[in-house]
């Protein structure tokens, strides 16, 4: 779907992804790798868990929503945009995650179109895990 085809109520969604231990590990290890910035992959122990097991870092779901918006709005979204995500339920190992967005408003001002969206991640029972909002802008 392209921005030009979006209407209020239009929905975007990714294919389902399992939050595998490997995906959790990639993000956990990205943190010291970015911190050291020495051309090597670093590792660290996962720290987020509860009685039911390890929990994925919320930023993974934020980034999956970011990917959904980038695939729709392109790099315009990186030049001007907003994204807020709140982690309302833990995402456990192997839980299925689907990233979604729904257009709630479209505003035209001059040559700029503003798209306001509700964004969220849900599991395969439609239970919401991460919720938030996004604003994207396109120019004619």
């Amino acid at each position: 779907m392209t921005p030009a085809t979006l209407k209020v109520g239009s929905e975007l969604r990714t294919a389902p992804r399992e939050m595998t231990r490997e995906r959790m590990r990639w993000y956990v290890d990205a943190q010291p790798t970015v911190a050291h910035d020495d051309g090597r992959i670093h590792t660290q122990e996962p720290t987020i868990h509860d009685d039911d097991g390890i929990i994925a870092d919320g930023m993974i779901s934020t980034n999956w929503i970011m990917g959904l918006l980038l695939d729709t709005f392109g790099t315009d979204f990186l030049h001007k945009g907003k994204l807020r995500t709140k982690y309302i339920a833990p995402i456990y190992e192997d839980q299925v995650v689907i990233s979604r967005a729904r257009v709630t408003a479209i505003e035209q001002a001059g040559d700029t179109t503003t798209y306001r969206m509700e964004v969220w991640c849900e599991d395969d029972t439609a239970k919401k895990l991460t919720v938030g909002e996004a604003v994207a802008y396109t120019k004619a």
Partner: protein, 153 residues
Amino acid sequence: MGKWNCEETMAVGQYTSDLEPGDVLGPVEYTLSPFVVREYCHAVELHQDCFQQAKGAVMPPTLIHLDKLRLYRHACPKGTGPHARVHIEYDATFHEAVPVGARLRVGGKVSERIEKRGRTYVYIDMELRAAEDDRLLISYRDTVTLSYRETKA
């Protein structure tokens, strides 16, 4: 830099658990490397060309969350402290794309620390700016909770 400068830095605690409203973190300067952008994007499966290309690549705005850890290391050298910390909200406004190779300056300020339903919430407002001319690139509000325990229904 921007809203906060070094002169107003307060006596920040040695642990991130100690952070109090008004504490200033940073600013810290660094150069955004292509390695960091590529590795972060691989980790979170952002495979778009704009993050991977050799020339003209840009930073995913989500990467500012790891700048918070950069500020923690700078301001709280003893680490997390007695309370586990869990990130619960990302809230960012992107003002300009951030090019790989740019010299950047990041700083933050603890805006709130509140107790709610038995948990402690800490809010940090951050700004990422171009070091050369102080242009605002990304503004970000980070929310964490301390002493996290999942409440069973």
